[in-house]
């Protein structure tokens, strides 16, 4: 079994189908799911996920409603809430952490809140208070000093990501990725490393899992939903997970 973390945008394609999708992903063998709170200005996301955010928002999806969907899905596998910090601070840092914990989430991924931001300490304290793990997001370009500092705040998992996709080039071509993965394991051998690099199929997945504990499959699933619907997307997840 491959360890994969799948991704959904809360409320996409709509509320019911999103719950169906989360449950289906669990059945299909996903080890964990990243649930993104939809936001109007998701600066680090590409076209596919941006569009999914817009569609969810147009249907009135809020942060509160996103947590309700996670509760409703009632999954046995771990759910990580991914959100841009604007949604967190607007909701209230403490309130956001409390709501995430109540929904049953295991941890939080906030890509645009660097560890040296003024609000980071408060965020970390709140997350710890509600027993949520904090997942730092780093990239192959991150210098060693920042990698160390980011890892110092990691509880159990770190997320390594880049938009420089591997497709077409092969993973080995990106020496930086391999080097960063190695560095992370040297600094903390016990940490679980999740890698998201625009994985589109089994070959990419195999390459990623040579370096990482967990492969993140994000926009590829949304593309499948857009092209062929939820059922086909879930079959795709199953193929990747059981490969």
């Amino acid at each position: 079994m491959n360890k994969i973390m799948t991704h959904v945008v809360a409320g996409y394609p709509d509320k019911d189908q999103c719950v169906e999708l989360m449950r289906g992903m669990e059945r299909a063998g996903a080890s964990m799911i990243e649930v993104q709170i939809p936001f109007s200005d998701p600066i680090a996301d590409g076209e596919t996920i941006m569009r999914a955010n817009d569609i969810a928002l147009r249907q009135g999806m809020t942060a509160e409603a996103s947590f309700a969907l996670i509760t409703q899905a009632a999954l046995a596998i771990d759910v990580y809430v991914m959100s841009y910090f604007q949604k967190v601070q607007h909701f209230g840092i403490d309130k956001f952490c409390a709501a995430a914990a109540r929904s049953g989430a295991a941890g939080l991924i906030i890509p645009d809140l660097p560890f040296d931001a003024p609000e980071f300490e408060e965020f970390l304290e709140c997350a710890r208070h509600y027993k949520l793990s904090v997942i730092p997001v780093i990239s192959p370009g991150t210098n060693l000093q920042r990698v160390r500092k980011a890892l110092a705040n990691a509880d159990e998992m770190v997320y390594l990501t880049s938009i420089k996709g591997i497709t077409g080039k092969g993973l080995r071509a990106d020496k930086n990725l391999g080097d960063t993965a190695k560095k992370i394991k040297e600094i903390n051998p016990n940490i679980r490393l999740a890698v998201g690099f625009g994985i589109t199929g089994s070959k990419d997945l195999d390459n990623v899992l040579k370096l990482a504990d967990i492969a993140v499959v994000g926009s590829a699933v949304i593309k499948k939903i857009n092209q062929s619907g939820i059922k086909a997307a879930l079959e795709f997840v199953e193929r990747l997970a059981s490969n």
């Binding site: 600066i43 990239s139 991150t142």
Partner: protein
């Protein structure tokens, strides 16, 4: 990050971006911090301002306008006489020079109405740099003339076909390009906003406006008025006077059609503190913290946020914020055109509208300086639709008929 990336006790600004971008911003900040104290760099920039751009821009006493109102003397800082027609070239030249010193080969930018894209394409051509401009598909359609000009200048204009197909999608397109190509590419941000060091770097490049005002007037004015979208022309005019507390500083926001939600782009008093596009400031938001809809007749003021330094200057009370409506601004364009022979940009006309209101209640020995940040040529379509729609429609139909392709 150095403390200099934050403004005030609320710590506006910062670098709220994914780790992927932190390295790039740190390198840019380091390069800029060295260059800003480098006399050779400053001399080179000054040369460009006098020999390529046309600085200093004139400070004109608007005698007819002042007399017709009766009250304070109104001076116009005519930034519309900059190359490309607005103050934007000031920070584009500065950033292009920084990029060149950093060994970058390529400039990228996002643009809404096309003015910032045009200024970036212009400096790219001047410096022999490649240029790619990201623009929402809807804006490409609305601003076709600017697309033609950018392409003429050698830039590649990439339409963004997803999302709202407007400015925010163009921002995202530019950021993704930067992430993939940062080794040889500099991202030119078009106002005093975005993650550090952009707000302070662009402010420094624009501050020449205020320094010239002081020199040209030979004394401190009683009041300086500037329109505020992101805040680049306002900070440009204000910065030299921030510590001169007798000088009143007034920022004019886009009052739009009405004070109702979605009908204007004035951040005060509606906006809440938030974190968007990589920085902390005031943003117009919906109930769940998403960016709100905005409107202004002036594309350059039609923006949800305000630069972080102006957020702090709002809180401290150093800058007073008021608004002018679409209607008042259109009227101000006509007034300045007829009294002084200067057609201001619709953005700048917001500042003119406020000056007219304020001059009336001030003494005749008082001096108001209005930063006329740009000229109105670019607004021909909006002005025509408002002032002579029938004639312009007939003109467009004749033009269309003359195309046999």
């Amino acid at each position: 990050m150095s403390e200099s990336g934050f403004f005030g006790a609320n710590k506006y600004g910062g670098r709220y971006v994914p780790e992927m971008l932190q390295g790039e911003l740190a390198s840019l900040a380091k390069a800029y911090d060295q260059l800003k104290n480098d006399l050779a760099f400053q001399a080179e920039l000054e040369q460009l301002h006098t020999n390529y751009n046309s600085r200093p821009t004139p400070l004109v006493l608007a005698k007819n306008l002042s007399e017709s109102i009766g009250g304070a003397q109104i001076y116009l800082k005519n930034e519309g006489l900059n190359h490309t027609g607005a103050h934007k070239i000031n920070h584009c030249l500065g950033q292009a020079l920084v990029a060149k010193k950093m060994g970058k080969k390529r400039l990228i930018a996002e643009t809404g109405a096309g003015q910032h894209g045009l200024a970036t394409a212009t400096v790219a051509a001047k410096f022999g740099l490649e240029c790619t401009v990201y623009m929402g598909e809807i804006d490409v359609a609305r601003q076709q003339p600017n697309v033609i000009l950018m392409e003429l200048l050698g830039a590649k204009v990439v339409p963004i076909t997803h999302g709202s197909k407007t400015l925010k999608d163009a921002v995202s397109g530019a950021i993704r390009d930067w992430l993939q190509n940062s080794d040889d590419t500099h991202y030119v941000i078009g106002s005093c906003l975005g993650p550090d060091p952009y707000p302070r770097m662009n402010r420094d490049f624009q501050a020449i406006i205020g320094r010239e005002i002081r020199q040209q007037l030979g004394k401190n004015p009683d009041c300086i008025i500037a329109c505020v979208g992101g805040g680049s022309n306002a900070l440009g005019a204000f910065t030299a006077f921030l510590n001169q507390h007798a000088v009143k500083l007034i920022g004019v926001e886009a009052g739009g059609k009405s004070p109702a939600n979605g009908q204007h782009a004035a951040r005060f008093p509606d906006a809440k503190i938030g974190i968007m596009e990589g920085y902390k400031s005031y943003f117009l938001q919906d109930e769940d913290g998403n960016s709100a809809l905005t409107h202004s007749v002036a594309a350059g003021l039609d923006y949800i946020g305000i630069g972080p330094e102006l957020a702090e200057l709002h809180d401290s009370g150093r800058v007073e914020f008021v608004r002018a409506s679409d209607k008042e601004s259109l009227k101000a364009v006509e007034l300045l055109a007829k009294t002084e022979g200067i057609i201001p940009a619709l953005e700048s006309a917001h500042a003119v509208a406020e000056a007219v209101k304020r001059a009336k209640i001030m003494k005749s020995e008082d001096a108001i300086v209005v930063n006329v940040s740009g000229r109105g040529d670019k607004d021909i379509f909006t002005l025509a639709r408002h002032f002579s729609p029938k004639d312009f429609k007939a003109f467009l139909q004749r033009e269309l008929a003359s195309y046999d392709i």
